[in-house]
């Protein structure tokens, strides 16, 4: 299915929760959804027989300076099509529902986004820092991250 058709399907199903389609200059195209609706949209994307996006290829946090975003790259082994899904989050309270019960593979990606961006995935099975030590301060992939001078007495 083409991106526009997927967008129309979603728009018809979820209405205002599906905001826009980012098509030009985006490969694959992104369907922008409201953060609160991420879980329902995901479940529909996975379980609708016409869409059946059974693989979550990638889940990335992005810092667009004025706001955060979480980008989902989906692929369907059955239908052999791909689409992106994006949810924009406010910088102050970046949080959205988890999708690890839709795609169990999301867990590590979500932990990574939490670790490096500080994005909170509500309802996650296990949301801890994954790459950095537990007592690390800050979230390094944020654009305003300042490198610390010392960590445990060793110069960074």
């Amino acid at each position: 299915m083409e991106a526009q058709a997927i967008f129309d399907t979603l728009k018809g199903k979820f209405g205002d929760a599906v905001v826009e389609l980012q098509g030009e200059g985006f490969s694959p195209a992104f369907v922008v959804v409201a953060p609160a609706a991420v879980k329902e949209v995901s479940r529909f994307l996975k379980e609708d027989p016409g869409l059946s996006f059974d693989v979550l290829m990638c889940l990335s946090g992005v810092d667009y300076k004025e706001k955060f975003a979480v980008a989902y790259h989906l692929h369907s082994l059955k239908r052999r099509h791909a689409i992106g899904m994006k949810a924009f989050l406010p910088r102050e309270t970046p949080s959205l529902p988890t999708v690890d019960d839709v795609w169990p593979g999301a867990n590590f990606h979500e932990r990574e986004a939490f670790d490096l961006f500080g994005i909170v995935f509500e309802g996650s099975k296990d949301l801890r820092r994954i790459l950095l030590p537990e007592d690390w301060e800050g979230h390094p992939l944020r654009k305003d991250y300042k490198y610390p001078d010392f960590y445990h007495g060793i110069k960074v």
Partner: protein, 376 residues
Amino acid sequence: MTVRTDALPTQEMTINMGPQHPSTHGVLRVILTTDGEVVTRAVPDVGYLHRGLEKIGERVTYAQFMPFTDRLDYLAAMNCNCAWAWAVEKLAKIEVPERAEYLRVIVCELNRISSHLIAFGSYTADMGAFTPFLYAIRERERVNDLFEMLCGNRLTYNYARVGGVSGDAPPGFLEKTKEFLDYFEPKLDEYNNLISYNKIFVHRLANVAVIPAEEAVAYGLTGPNLRGSGVPFDLRKDEPYSVYPKFDFKVCVGTGERGTPGDCFDRYMVRINEMRESVRIVRQAVARIPDGPVMAKVPRLFKPPAGEAYFRSECPRGETGIYLISDGSVNPFRLKIRTGSFVAMNIFEKVTRGLMIADIVAVIGSLDIILPEIDR
């Protein structure tokens, strides 16, 4: 195998496996909770090699990031080089000369062979047979020689460029490659005779840590790990990029040859068979490589248009997906690298429940993880 646990009151023991352990393939740490020899829970703790590649990517230019992709998966640096080049080319819509694409395919497949050789060798070493490991290294050295001839380094090649490759193949390279293929192909049968069908080896691997196809898909496994579960999905075939559609090769899948489809043995055999397919691809590529330039015209201060692209390519450890956001400046705005090992680690806790300590080692080896890919 059934283990009775109701006989005696026992206490569980927490054991720390790694980050310094001979068979965690680097600095993986696994926190094992065991009941005697039986593992009730194995929680991986990664990040001991987190070097912040994604942050580095935002601070360097597109061309400068190429050497860092070498260190992303040092066993398959060529594949990562090319993946980065392909991703940037997809973002900036650059046409690459055909000879360069052929050279990329040749080095990618050669690197796949040498990477699978390490996977095969270290796996047998983990299982207690140290000798096949040294045989694998013996063959790997020959691939290293080829790469040395091509780009001057043995491990971190930095060979691909945005728009082509850094240099044409030196005279004699293609002949040497053919020579290597003729030397290498019979060795695969030697490995199979030596260890693959060894009774102890089969008993250690068959029916251990079975990942059913649905589960493998749900967890997003890719590459040999997915194919080991019997899902015939290979990006080179199903989402073709570069000049791969021009070659004839088979997608190897696990068939449950000695046990259940999706067990450790299947994942192991997929890698052995893939080496054979890689040999076939390289043979065809060497025979058909066209003449011409190896580098497209790319400005020195390269600025792709603003936009976002996700490119995925088939690396030895699964799909390496590069999500690239450009704001039109010389640096990437954001890049995220999704790697096969990282995803494979996610399923680790699930498949290791109820196995024995020795099986944990078998699972780590069969998923063929490499730590810089997980930690980046």
